[in-house]
Structure formats: C-alpha cells, structure tokens
Symmetry: C2
Subunit: 577 residues, 2 copies
C-alpha cells in the first residue's frame, strides 16, 4: 500500500488537544509543545519493536472525546457547600472535566485509561485552597466527616501518587499557594508555598537580587526531569532528586523545615541547621506522599547562582564496567562532586546517539575505529558547579580518572545538547502512544557492590520480552552507590498485559537488591511491594505513624499502605519480612 519510493513519516500530532478532552488531561507539557521522534529513531523503533510503516498509518485511542464521568459524587450538597463556605464558590469545582483533570497523574496506566475513556478513580470535588488557613479548615472538616483528601501539585506523578481511590476531594495546591514567600540570604534559605512550579521557583531565585533585594542571586539546585510540570511540594512529599543532585543533594538534603496540616494538628518543624534532639520529625514528614497531612510551607536550602563557573564535559567509555568504575572512583575521590554525572549503558548510548542524529556520522565512525564500538561503548555526561577553582579542579580530577579508565573526552557539546532537550524528551511519549507504543521508566537505588547484578538482572528480564527495548543510565552518584534508571519501550496496547509485565519488574528490582524507588516516591503503584522491601517490622513503624497522624485514614488513602487499607493493586505474589 505504501510507496516504497517515498520515505514514510508518521503523522505525528501537532495539534493542541481539544479543550475539555481526555487528551488535554494526559498530554505532557503545554498544549502546543511537541517533540517528535527523529527519522533515525523512527527507523530504530520499527526495527527493534518489530513494527513497520503499516503500524503507523492510523492512530488509536487518541482520547479526543470530551471527558465524561459516570461516577456520581459521593459528597452531599451540604458537604460541598461547606467547602464553598471555606474557599469561595470560584475555588470549588464538581464538573466532570475538573474532577478528572485533577484526579489523574502521568503513569502509563492513567494515560491509557484516559485514551480509552475509562475513568477508573475520580475525586468527587476539586478544591483550590487560597492559603494554609483554608487547608487547616478543610482538613479539620474532612477529618470530622471522614472525607478522603488527595493533594495535587503539578500532576506529574508517575506512581499513582494522586489517584483518589476512595473519591473525596482533591486539594489543588498550585492554583493559589504557589509563591516564593521569602529569601533569607543570611541563612541561605527560601520559604516557599508547596504549589510553586519548578520554573517559577528557580526563576525567582535566579532574580532574587531584583525581586527580594538580596545581594546575590541564587539557585535551588533541584532540576528533576519533571521540572517544568512539577511543584516544590511535590518534590518534597515524593523525595525527588534533581539531575544535579550529586552536587546539590536531593530534596531530602535540601529541606530545612516544613509546615504541615494533619488531622493530628498543625506544626512547623524547627529550622536548626542540625540538632540532636531525638528523631527528626522534619525527616519523618519528607516522602510521606500526602498520607500524613498536607505540606503548606517549606524552607529549602538555596545556593549562590554561579553559572559563570559552570563546566560541561563528556566522555565515551569503551564499556559499562569502565564507566561504572570511573563513576565510583569519582564519587569516592574527596575532591568535591560533579553536579550532573550520568553514564548511559550501551543500549541507551546507541539510542541516544540516534536521537541526537550522531550515529553514522564521520565522527561516529572515527570513535568506533578508536575502539569505542557501538553496542559496548557508554556515553558519560558531566557538569561541575560551584566556586571557580573548585569546578576547575572537579573537572580536572574527573578527566584524570576517566582517562585512567580508558575514556575518550568528547568536549562539552553532548552535555549542552542533552540539556536543551532534557525536559522535553518525555513529550515523545504521546506520539508513541498514538501508535500503541508504550515508553515507561523505573528507577532504583543500589549500592556499588550490587550495581552490575541489578542492572543485568532487570535488563535480562525486560529484554526477554520479544521486541522490547531496554536502556538504562546511572545519574545520581554517592560514595556508597548510585541509582539505575531503566527506560523500556514496547508495542503493547493492552493495559493488563503491560501491568503484569511491570509488576514482575518490581519483583526483579527487589530480588536483585534495589530500592523500590530512588526518587519520586512509590505512590499507590508500588505501595503493595513496600512490606517486601522493608519487612514487616519497618512497615509497622510507618503504619504507627499513619495511625497517629491520620486515624480515620482520610489522607491519600492507599499511599504508603495505610493500616487495614486494601491496596488498589493486587499485592505481590510472595511476601516476606
């Protein structure tokens, strides 16, 4: 049917989704932002997924229909009216579109549901609190009435973090509670409302001198891939790690103090730079995923903004072992840490080079000729940030170590390319799903002595599925270990089949000694595996905290395996402690 003469290009979508449609809920990024696969990527996809041009003739399940909800609100009109009394009529919504829009995150599972028009779990009402006092009144009322409460920041959860499994209300924190309240230059901290989006936060800090009258400008140092579509509060409650966390620390390191509204009361944790006054409630609240209460204000560490000292550099390693050895040595080198440090395994390296249209260039052939062969070679991207002589030395020491491990320096160009697209790459997901291709990711943390075993174990399982792409990188480095971020791509329109596949990956991660999550939390997606990860005794500690903060189980029920809570997913087959 298709002419063999003319090169076929799929009709990647370039239209903003219809207003009020399912597609407008699951679309990644702003309505008019798109990122299409390159020709080389398209060819690679067909080859590796066992597809051909025919498969890209027609889109399926684009989700262009208007959102329609079958589930009737379970809240009474009296209850709805009470929320209206608290926040004002304009800040309560019960229409179908609002209910769905603010009940859905960005998991593959959720996007497929929306594409099929099958709304599985939806809140009964959407409430936009104006300030923390509103939140306090709302939580007080919900506690009294036993109405479930789910927090919504940027809606970027890929772990079913939002999913309102019992109905109730969604509290949207990004509508009004989205400001940087204060920059305290002396303490080098910023006081922020939870709904502040990543770019707004960083922008305010980068211009602190003008906006807050500080002497210097600052950076938050936190740049997760979801940066453009996630909130400061979301980072905190899911324990996010930004792409420069190797230097700046992850959000666990960055949070100095928090104010929470919980059914068991409202409190602000102390902002001491350190203390020895028993277990730290401040740390207990981090990563609590809305299961204990709502974060209404947070004080974060900030850093002098020194873009002029930034150094970018890249290397090609002959293989994965060499790249990992160098990464470990750098992390343990005691000369300070790089900001970004990222090693891609052989598969990701090749696919990445295709994405950047590098492969089959003269340079590619030259590198290959020098011994950095496709299928084995591994790309490494790095940056150094901080004071000028510090970044110079970090770069110098890293280059020395990488060379000792046989790496070829590649200048800073690959890093700058990566930086240009690092936030927009996920946008490709919508294009791929239009043709029944699922792209998804899972991340895990692992000690150095277990690194290769985990990488190989999980990869082997994923690649055992025919026509399935698996690539991985490590991108957050610690002296004691690193993370592994797996990306897998497959042709699989069937949600059930996909979920079954995904569940076994969780099992494999645990089996090979990885953490269920390195950053962005476990949500309701991985909560059923938590006991297997932590053991009965440690899960019981979290349950005791849950009982304390939220005796009626109204705060994001299903998250962190609330006591007596039936998980929204089936439990994993085998449990042990």
């Amino acid at each position: 049917m298709i002419s063999k003469k003319k090169k076929f290009v799929p009709a990647w979508s370039d239209e903003a989704p219809p207003a009020g449609s399912y597609r407008s809920v699951f679309k990644l990024g702003a309505p008019y932002r798109f990122k299409h696969p390159s020709d080389a990527w398209y060819e690679m996809l067909k080859e590796q997924l066992g597809m051909n041009d025919e498969d890209f003739q027609h889109k399926h399940h684009e989700g262009r229909r208007p959102v329609a909800v079958k589930q009737k609100p379970r809240l009474s009109t009296v209850q709805i009216q009470r929320f209206v009394d608290i926040v004002g009529r304009e800040n309560v919504a019960v229409d179908d579109f609002s209910r769905v829009r603010f009940s859905y995150g960005k998991t593959v599972e959720e996007t497929l549901e929306l594409r099929y028009g099958h709304v599985r779990h939806v809140a009964d009402a959407v409430v936009h609190p104006r300030d923390k006092h509103d939140v306090r009144r709302i939580i007080g009322y919900c506690h009294e009435q036993k109405i479930p409460v789910y927090g919504y920041g940027g809606g970027s959860s890929v772990t079913l973090g939002i999913r309102p499994v019992h109905g109730g209300i969604v509290l949207v924190l990004s509508t009004h509670m989205n400001r940087v309240l204060e920059v305290n230059e002396k303490n080098q901290t910023a006081r922020v409302q939870p709904g502040c989006m990543g770019p707004a936060y960083e922008e305010a800090l980068n211009h602190a001198a003008a906006r807050f009258g500080t002497r210097f400008n600052y950076t938050g140092g936190h740049f997760p891939q979801s940066f453009e579509i996630s909130t400061v509060g979301g980072w905190v409650v899911t324990l996010g790690a930004g792409q420069a966390s190797t230097y700046y620390g992850d959000i666990y390191d960055l949070v100095v103090s928090q104010e929470y509204v919980t059914p068991a009361g409202t409190f602000t944790t102390p902002d001491f730079p350190a203390a020895a006054i028993g277990p730290r409630v401040n740390d207990i609240m981090k990563g609590s995923e809305g299961a204990f209460g709502i974060l209404v204000e947070v004080i974060l560490k900030i850093f002098r903004h020194l873009p002029q000292n930034r150094r970018c550099f890249a290397f090609m390693f002959a293989d994965w072992q060499a790249a990992a050895d160098a990464g470990r040595e750098i992390s343990q080198g005691q000369f300070g840490l790089p900001a970004v440090f990222r090693i891609s395994d052989a598969d990701e390296t090749e696919i990445g080079l295709k994405l950047y249209r590098f492969n089959d260039t003269i340079l590619d052939r030259a590198i290959s000729w020098m011994g950095y062969k496709p299928g084995r070679r591994c790309l490494c991207l790095a940056t150094a940030e901080g004071q000028r002589a510090f970044t110079r030395n970090v770069k110098k020491q890293i280059r020395k170590i990488c060379r000792r491990h046989g790496a070829l320096p590649l200048t800073g160009i690959p890093v700058r390319r990566w930086e240009k697209t690092r936030y927009s790459e996920p946008l490709m997901r919508d294009d791929l799903q239009d043709y029944g291709i699922i792209i998804d990711t899972l991340e895990t943390a692992v000690t150095w002595d277990n690194f290769h075993r985990l990488h190989e174990g999980v990869r082997t399982y994923i690649k055992a599925r025919p026509h399935t792409i698996c690539m991985a990188h490590a991108s957050h480095f610690y002296p004691q270990g690193t993370n592994l971020y797996f990306i897998f791509i497959m042709h699989a329109d069937d949600l059930q089949e996909y979920q079954q596949f995904q569940r076994v990956i969780f099992d494999k991660i645990l089996q090979y000694g990885g953490s269920l999550s390195h950053h962005h939390g476990i949500g309701k997606m991985m909560a059923p595996w938590l006991e297997k990860q932590l053991g009965r005794e440690q899960l019981a500690v979290l349950q005791a905290l849950k009982r304390h903060f939220d005796p009626h189980n109204i705060m994001n029920p299903g998250a962190l395996l609330a006591p007596g809570e039936a998980p929204s997913h089936e439990s994993p087959a085998g449990k042990n402690s």
Copy 2:
C-alpha cells in the same frame, strides 16, 4: 598563712583513684591520666572566680571511699538467673561497684553525687551481652517481665543518658560487642558493633589494608571530644557530631544502615545510598537514645585516609562579628568545606591563650599592637582534608575570606597545639571539682540570622552570676547556621544551686531560638524541655513512635519523654506548644 614569697601551687591529684572507689567511677580518662591547670590558668581562676590560695588548701569530697549501694536489687533471683542463663554467669554482675559503675555517666550532677557518696539511681544488675542474639533474648525477656533496660557504651554521657531511673538492668555493649566486623571497600562502608570505642574504630580503619585486605586505608571522620571514652553506638543513638563534622558530616549523615532489637521486633534498615520509599526508618532510629530499642550493628560511611593532604591554618580576628561573618561566608562559599573550623569568642580566646601559655609573650604583645586586642580578638582554628588540590583550594579560599574580614594568619601551629590536647582537656574537670569548682558545657544549634542574639543572650545570663566564667565557640559550620558551645566555670559546691542555674540556661537557649542540643542528645537532663522545644504536636509524634516500639516503656524510661512517664527532673516552669 601561705608564704607570699613562694608561689603556691595546689596539690593537683596525681594518684590513680582507689580501686572500687566512687572516684574511680567518675574520673575522666584512664586512671593514670591527668591534665592539670597551668599556673596562668590557676591565677585566672582565682581572679575570675573570686577565690584565693586559701581555697585551694584542702580538697573536698574526693570520693575515695568504696562504693556502697543502699538500694536493694528489685529483680528476683529467678530473673537474675534468667539473665545468667542467657549470657553466662561471668557476664552478669550484681555487686555494688558494678551496679554503680555502669549506672553513671559524666554529668556534673552525677559526679557530685558520687563525690558525696549519694547514689541516687542505680541498676539492679549489669549484663554484658556477647552478641546480638543475646540482646534479642534479653529484650524479649525484659519486655515480657517489664524489666527496664538501659544501654551503656563508654559511659561518657553528659545528659543523664544512662541514668537508670527505674532500676532494671544495664546492658553493657562495650565488653564483647566492640568489633569492626567488615570494611566494604566497594561501598566505602564499615560494619561495626555498637560497643566499639572511638580509638579502636579509627585504628581499625586507618589500618584497613593490613587488617581487612583492602586496597586503601580509611578514616571514620568522626572525632567528638569524647572520642577516647565513647563508642560508635553511643555516637549514633545520641546524634554525635565530631570535630571534623563540617567536612565529614555528623553521625546522622554517616550512618547508612542499622540493626535494632526492639520490643516490637528486630530489623535491619536498608543500606541504599538514597531512596524515595517513604519516611526513613533508618533516620527515625538515629538519636533515639535507647528509648526505642538497642542498636546491635551499624553500617557507617568511611573515607579514604589522606593525612598527607591535610592542611592546618589559624587566624586571629579583631572581633566576634568578623569571625562569624567569615565563618558564614566560608560555609556558603561552594568551594568545599573545611574539616575543622572553629571560632572562639573573646573570652574563650583569652582563656585559651592562657591555657597554651601564649599570653604576655612577645608575640601576644605584637598581635595586640596590631589591633587584635585582648577582650575583643577571636581565635580561629581550621583544617582541610580530602584530595590534595581540593585541600589546597579550601585553604586558599578560606584565607582569602578571612583576610577580607581583617583576620591575621597565624600559621598552623595553634591548630597542632589544640589537637594535642583536645581529648585530654576535659580531664581538668576532676582537679577543679576537688576544690569545689564546677566546669560544665552546653551546646546548641542556631541559624545564622539568630547567631549573635543567642550568643549574647545566653552569655549575659551566665555572666550575670557573680564570679562566673563563660566562654563559647562555634565549631560545626553549615551554610544555614552553626552551633554554639558554651563552657562555664563557677565556684559552686551546691548541687541544687547548680541545677537551678543550669535549668535557666536551658530556658534561655530556647528563649533565644537555639536547639536544646546540637550533638550528644538530650538525655533525661533536657527531656523535660522537649515539649517546649518541639511543641505538643511534634512531641506526640515521638510519643507515638515510643508507644509503637516499646509499649511497656522498658527501654531507657525517662528518655525522650516516654508517654505517661513522670520526668526524673522537675518540668520547666512554662510550657507551650
């Protein structure tokens, strides 16, 4: 009476305390180790404390009598026998001396009690578990029988951390459970038993190549003042911070994973380098002061041992404001952090110079002439550790910042002098107490914007007491703040008066916005202030954890304000939440 011709020197004690005596319990350091005040110090003491040679004619309350306990053991012979069955006869003691020896820490309060021969709180039996399985059996039995259990490491607590307020048993962890079990070079960690003493731990790491067959030698990076008389486990459960913590981190940062035996079960926390799987039980257990369970094994971060790259440097600042400003700028400078960084306020500077016999030398007069006047000038000591070029740059940047703040570089000699005596200085306490002089310390953490207010507020209160010395230093630096370590010296033989004085200092620390403790915990001494510090809601979180781990309140009752537990001290006058 005393000849004015011949200079009088008090007869500082140079004898080992009699075996079995009270003195042998409270004496700091090994029996034959002493550190006497210098002549200049002696003159300074007399002048500032309003004393004269007469006051140093006779020693009082030396505690040379044999220990005798009035309290009868409350444990039955059946119960004692059960402990014998578990650990063997040689590992259970019920004699008076053992009971007192392992029931006492090193607070002023405890040493005075021992000097008077007034044993206030004492355990009924002392048990030396051989391994973690013994601990498990013991805790199981104590839970069943509701027998209180107190952990004992090095006995260096200065917060009534041990004090067995309800009798029961003391578990001595340093007798058998004192080994470095493993050095994992790949993960750069050491697995250690809790009773391992500081020097044994550091020694094992410094010789890891020979002892564990590693490629490199390592350091633990943790050097609290109590280093020689404290244990790894003690550091962890009291949240210790070593003198090089500005670079290496405090124990909260250093602990990767822990194994605990609690009445609610035994568990080992995961050793992932990072994770986003909810609140971290590993962190919840740190600083739990034995109130949740007994730490039986811990995995700590270690660091390449690079003494050849170490740099020492010192400065004199014209005043406290300049020293603090420089300290803050250094902490926020993003060129890496110094290992030791320590600024002494004007009083501590002068007293320190006296201790080192520096004052009134030609050099002293020269420095004074240059504008660094006694009574205003502040000494700063620093070291840098790590990779060679890194330490060179840290030193260079610090020197630049200090100079900008008008400081005079003093070479590395003062640092080396300080290092020689840093562990032995506390030994002077016994000499002073022999003549009714109390020397005590309190430490607090504070944000930069509150630093001077707290320093001035606490100092003003202490110095308002006639003939009382108050000196302070900041010695753990963070971008967000620092600690303040207050040392006060007074002539006060009366325990009650002293306690009253101390209690108001706690109030003042809270009033001026400091933490109750920066390192080494709150013990039973400060636990009554915890609600005032944290507020009712956050105290309730700790109480919920306590109830979970230890429903019968047998684990170090009185620590961390167990629910329903009457504090062993009177509560502070005013409480708020």
